[in-house]
């Protein structure tokens, strides 16, 4: 069905709730369109507040974290990595940030270096600190992804625990 037919059959409000139609520009029109858009964006960029910029950076971190959660495990993309990036986005020193969420600076250092796992309180405090821009469930899933990999692949723990299983099921699997 052509655009003109749709325009007769549906209201403009209904059409923008259903379509972005293809629109072709000539080279000259495209050049003018590029200039007009760039000029408009320059004005709106100048109106952006420090808060808008900070929020955009936090959203970027959140979306990159969420994209990683959908991908395969990568040891470099651990909880500590994203927590360190969170501090960098906020431009905060460890001591200052640890005080803001009321945890010991040493614990924060251990979380960033991935020597400690975060507990539920830390995860909730991170959500509250970001004013929910980065939800607790994202931090939780990030920590769980690490744990899941560890459980799946930890051969030495299996060896260590083996003597405690004195009887196992003799089933062919």
């Amino acid at each position: 069905m052509s655009y003109k037919k749709l325009l007769k059959q549906y209201t403009p409000e209904e059409l923008v709730e259903s379509f972005v139609f293809p629109v072709k520009y000539t080279a000259k029109q495209q050049e003018q369109a590029n200039k007009d858009l760039a000029a408009a964006r320059k004005i709106s960029q100048a109106k952006m507040t420090e808060d808008d910029i900070l929020k955009a950076r936090l959203y970027q971190l959140r979306f990159q974290l969420e994209d990683y959660l959908k991908k395969d495990y990568d040891p470099a993309m651990n909880f500590g990595h994203f927590l360190d990036r969170y501090l960098k986005v906020l431009n905060k020193r460890k001591k200052e940030f640890a005080a803001e969420i009321q945890i010991h600076e040493t614990l924060l250092s251990h979380l960033i270096s991935n020597r400690r796992e975060p507990n539920d309180s830390v995860i909730i405090r991170l959500e509250l600190h970001s004013n929910s821009i980065i939800p607790a469930i994202d931090w939780y899933k990030l920590a769980e992804k690490e744990k899941e990999h560890q459980i799946r692949t930890d051969g030495s723990l299996r060896e260590k625990e083996s003597p405690f299983v004195t009887h196992n099921l003799k089933l062919a699997v």
Binding site: V16, E17, F21, D36
Partner: protein
């Protein structure tokens, strides 16, 4: 991210993913108005589906313009049964546009921009419906308005 079931006004969770080659057998012009296969290699194609079912409810073609920190929506449609006043589900186009906003924000943070070239008769309606701003003949989202759309649709 949710769309709304129009009969019961119930929120239904949906996801947006890249179109797979195997999807094209279900993406017909009759169901989705355009020849989407012609955009293969020219744009990144995304589909909106229920979280737990593969049926496609909407499609979107995006072109990334890194030099301008901008993503352009080249084409978007809902499926045949989801347009107009008798639609089964509402909010499909909004969710797709918000997903484009999410992609732009993920790449370009504070400089992120989503734009589209509207048909003349629809220009003001994109502005009214999605908080877009006029940029010559085009309309666009950036800064506060981009974040607003993300907050509304939660992609």
């Amino acid at each position: 991210m949710n769309i709304t079931e129009m009969s019961g006004q119930k929120a239904i969770p949906v996801i947006v993913q890249q179109v797979e080659p195997s999807d094209f057998k279900n993406i017909t012009k009759k169901q989705f108005f355009f020849r989407w296969d012609q955009l293969k290699g020219l744009a990144d194609l995304y589909k909106l589906t229920f979280e737990d079912s593969p049926g496609i409810l909407g499609l979107m073609a995006l072109v990334d313009v890194p030099a301008e920190y901008r993503i352009e929506i080249k084409l978007l449609t809902v499926s045949k049964e989801n347009k107009g006043s008798g639609k089964q589900y509402g909010g499909i186009a909004g969710c797709l546009i918000a997903y484009a906003a999410r992609e732009a924000m993920g790449k370009y943070e504070g400089l992120a921009c989503v734009s589209l070239k509207p048909k003349t008769e629809l220009r003001q309606h994109y502005i009214n419906k999605y908080g877009m701003k006029p940029g010559g003949d085009q309309v666009y989202l950036d800064g506060h308005e981009l974040q607003n759309l993300i907050n509304i649709y939660k992609p």
